[in-house]
Amino acid sequence: MKFKVNGKEVEVDVPEDVPLLWVIREELGLLGTKFGCGKAQCGACTVHLDGEARRSCVTAVGDVEGHEITTVEGLDEDGLHAVQQAWVEANVPQCGFCQTGQIMMAAALLAKIPDPTDEHIDAVMSGNLCRCGTYPRIRAAIKRAAELIRDGGEQ
């Protein structure tokens, strides 16, 4: 089946019901998307499907045929997306394992809601777990990323 990943057309030959997460990691060799729970409880596997956030661990690869996937590797062509920049500035990551999923979710949030309130952040980001407890910094970094985007950063 054919679909786009980070702007490039790819073709994979696997059973339709293989989770997109493993196609991304093993068929395409993109390891930035992580496996944390396998049942959409933790959000570490978050990617964008036609610009919308999706948990790739419960998305069958057959369902994305003909669609566009963005992984963390393709979030910004030239380097760092405003979200990634804000994340580094605020020293958000600790162990780091959940962070690419957090970033993909935050980027999707900001694409829809450029000036999110705490309530927006609570509602949208609560599906992404962080065992190291970086939530307060994630919250601050999302607001900072919103500022960066407003002031002309990458969107």
Binding site: V23, L31, K34, F35, C95
Partner: protein, 741 residues
């Protein structure tokens, strides 16, 4: 750093280079000197000790004998080197070193990384700088005292001459290794003591950071192990014929841990595993259930334990005229670590050597286990340490390493084993349960005069005894190793060796109390247990700081004032007072909300926390946590704060929701739906304040955890008079509301 450099430097750290700064003595230093010169002549790299390599392009590689699990140890090492070597932080590549005996224990835990490495790493860097300046001095014919190192460049102000460290590498390698180089005066620090961006932040946000399960090795197979529902059961027989026919499957192997499907891709192994038919043996764990363990614990706690500390006479004091007494039993369950990355390991057993890539907190344990399984000597086992993806004590374990090694031994190819979340949750090595009885009394003036602690818990040292052989020297014969390990295990099990881990945080009472009795009774179950963030303190903090609160209320005193009056250690009192001040203790709170306070000393650091919380629709709502930490001098205050934030959220998650329970030997929890972690919408505001200090640096990875649970329990009591003595608090509240109506 590119992979070639990484491999070469890894080879260095397993080689013969002695840490010039730590071991003086003619023959070893001369050998180190020769090796150093040879390396520089051949490659242009300057490596005066195991920590530091100055590359010809002026980058500096820093080998760290600790594992990075989020606590920021790679960054702190880079900063220590940046300071003493005068190199910009972004020119430094810090990485975890392969397992090597020259590093010593090479274990990461106990919040000891900074305290253990603060002086040695700075000394290693200062030593390298002396040699670089010496090389330039010799080259330019000027006194070294006229030279300075700035941003990776040696400069001679008078003449304007300058040269990069990288260009001086070959000459520096000919300089004698100084034994006692001077370290910078903290007043002159440019890097240490300030916020710096984590050296691994970029890789962790752009997806390039390599965790254990991201390792890819040529010729690798991926393994998924189908495990028994009842811990300890083994496959008696299995039918792998259907699984073997599935695409990509290389083999199906039954062994101690279960039945493994080996396939070219992990997703293929997972699919094929569904086609396995397995008959499981019985297991000695199958009679294990939580109700039974609790009953045994409650039964034992009613008696007398082995005495660990005794002052005065608690019984007599409690009977004195005018003394008000209280008795309380506090309960803590088994807990899983739930590292964000499930357990995993990649291993390749070759004819005469083994290579391992593991998210391990203790590469020597990985090497030892691989050596035992394959018969290959430990010095031929290469253990690479990947980013951990969370540790909290779980990753010191040998189990995930043993599996990969065993499977690779059997199939002859590199094998990567990745656990599912369910495997991880039910796979054992938990924080032990604890049932703790407290008795105490206050006199007519409200002074606490009696304090008795009797804890019943499962010692983690019994499991750990099995891994103790890693500290035995290589030359010790196997039979001796086995016998000693068995003896040590027996000693721990019998209670002959003081159970210092289980009683940590309770053995030394923070308060000035004349009559004290500290007792412990071990209760052995078949559940594998181990270190879990803050270890014994993780429940003892809850016990002692809840009980001191109950004594304060018994005395009719404000819980902050009561503690302030009776805490002995001035540093503990100082963090307590600052926390109360920063939290606005005494100011009115919203209706239904209250404040609770707790102060605890652990891992040589002092932490006090004030929690503002209440019940909202019957559920705990934590509004704010104020945390004050005294951890001596700091390397990176922003990372200290991050560790406190982390410990608080970790501790609150456990206190409010978490437990691991058993029913007929089957763990009842499987994923994050039944083992909840705190989520964004539940996260309180957290304010961390660091006490100014020039004391030597002490722990920051764990000390923020012990005060969190009791401060929350104390807040809920202040808010509505409900005293929660059982963790998780949702269970305590359920019990309370059931009793009520």
């Amino acid at each position: 750093m590119n992979r070639r450099e990484f491999l070469r430097v890894s080879a260095l750290t397993t080689g013969a280079l002695v840490i010039g700064v730590q071991f003086s003595g003619c023959s070893s230093t001369k050998k180190a000197q020769r090796e150093m010169e040879k390396l520089a002549a051949e490659t242009g790299e300057f490596a005066p000790n195991m920590y530091i390599t100055v590359m010809p392009d002026n980058r500096v590689l820093v080998a760290v004998e600790k594992s990075e699990m989020g606590q920021g140890v790679l960054t702190s090492h880079a900063m220590l080197v940046a300071e003493e070597l005068d190199v910009p932080l972004d020119q430094i590549d810090a990485f975890s070193a392969d397992g090597a005996p020259q590093w010593g224990m090479q274990m990461t835990g106990g919040s000891t990384s900074t305290s253990q490495t603060y002086i040695p790493v700075r000394t290693a860097a200062a030593s390298a700088k002396v040699m670089l300046l010496g090389a330039a001095a010799a080259k330019w014919g000027v006194p070294a005292a006229e030279l300075e190192g700035v941003d990776g460049v040696v400069r001679h102000a008078a003449s304007g001459r300058k040269e990069t460290y990288g260009a001086l590498a070959k000459d520096a390698a000919k300089q004698p290794i100084p034994q006692d180089p001077p370290l910078k005066n903290p007043a002159d620090f440019k890097v240490l003591g300030k916020k710096a961006i984590r050296t691994d932040a970029r890789a962790k946000v752009d997806g390039t950071a390599v965790f254990g399960m991201d390792v890819v090795v040529d010729g690798m197979v991926n393994a998924y192990i189908v495990r028994p529902r009842v811990m300890g059961a083994k496959p008696l027989s299995f039918d792998g014929s259907a699984a073997k026919k599935e695409p990509g499957v290389v083999d199906v192997i039954g062994f101690e841990r279960g039945v493994a499907v080996l396939a070219e891709k992990y997703w293929q192994a997972r699919r094929a595993a569904l086609k396995l038919e397995i008959e499981w043996s019985d297991s000695r764990h199958s009679s294990m259930n939580t109700a039974k363990i609790r009953a045994m614990g409650y039964d034992a706690v009613g008696g007398k334990g082995t005495s660990y500390h005794n002052e005065g006479n608690v019984k007599r004091a409690m009977k004195r005229e005018g003394v008000k007494t209280i008795e309380a039993i506090y309960e803590a369950p088994f807990l899983a670590h739930a590292t964000m990355s499930p357990q995993n390991c990649t291993a390749h057993v070759r004819e005469n050597e083994v290579e391992i890539w593991a998210p391990t907190q203790a590469p020597p344990i990985a090497q030892e286990v691989a050596s035992r399984i394959t018969g290959i000597p430990r010095d031929k086992v290469i253990a690479h340490v990947t980013l951990l993806g969370g540790g909290f004590g779980r990753r010191a374990g040998p189990d995930f390493v043993a599996e990969a090694v065993e499977l690779s031994k059997r199939c002859g190819r590199p094998v990567k084993v990745v656990w599912s979340r369910e495997d991880d949750m039910s796979g054992g090595y938990y924080r032990p349960f604890a049932i703790n009885k407290m008795e105490g009394g206050v006199d007519a003036d409200g002074k606490p005069i009696a304090w008795r602690y009797h804890s019943v818990s499962q010692p983690i040292s019994t499991d750990f005894a099995n891994w103790l052989s890693v500290i035995f020297p290589d030359w010790m014969p196997n039979i001796t190793t086995k016998v000693m390990t068995r003896s040590i295990g027996t000693m721990f099990r019998s209670g002959l060796v003081p159970e210092v881990i289980s009683t940590e945080g309770a053995r030394h009472v923070a308060y000035d109390i004349e009559n004290q009795s500290i007792e412990f009774t071990p209760l052995q179950t078949t559940v594998p247990v181990t270190f879990w963030r803050s270890v014994g303190h993780s429940y003892n903090g809850f016990v002692v700081e809840s009980f001191s609160d109950e004594l304060a209320h018994l005395a009719g005193e404000d819980p902050f004032e009561f503690r302030r009056k009776h805490i002995k250690d001035p540093r503990l009192k100082a963090v307590l007072e600052r926390a109360a001040k920063e939290a606005g203790w005494g100011e009115p709170t919203e209706e239904g909300y209250g404040r609770g306070i707790a102060a605890h000393f652990s891992f040589d650091s002092y932490v006090a926390e004030v929690v503002e919380a209440g019940l909202k629709d019957g559920e705990i709502d934590v509004r704010r946590v104020t945390c004050v930490v005294d951890c001596g001098v700091t390397v990176n205050p922003d990372i200290v704060k991050a560790n406190m934030e982390s410990s608080i959220i970790f501790g609150l998650s456990a206190a409010i929701w978490q437990k691991i329970t058993f029913e007929d030997g089957v763990v009842q929890q499987g994923n994050f739906d039944d083992y909840p972690l705190m989520r964004m919408f539940q996260t309180p505001e957290i304010d961390v304040h660091i006490m100014e200090s020039n004391a030597p640096p002490t722990g920051v990875g764990e000390p923020g955890l012990p005060p969190a649970a009791p401060a929350l329990a104390n807040a809920i009591f202040a808010a509505n008079g409900i005293r929660m003595r059982k963790m998780p608090f949702v269970d305590a509240l359920a019990d309370h509301f059931e009793k009520e109506g």
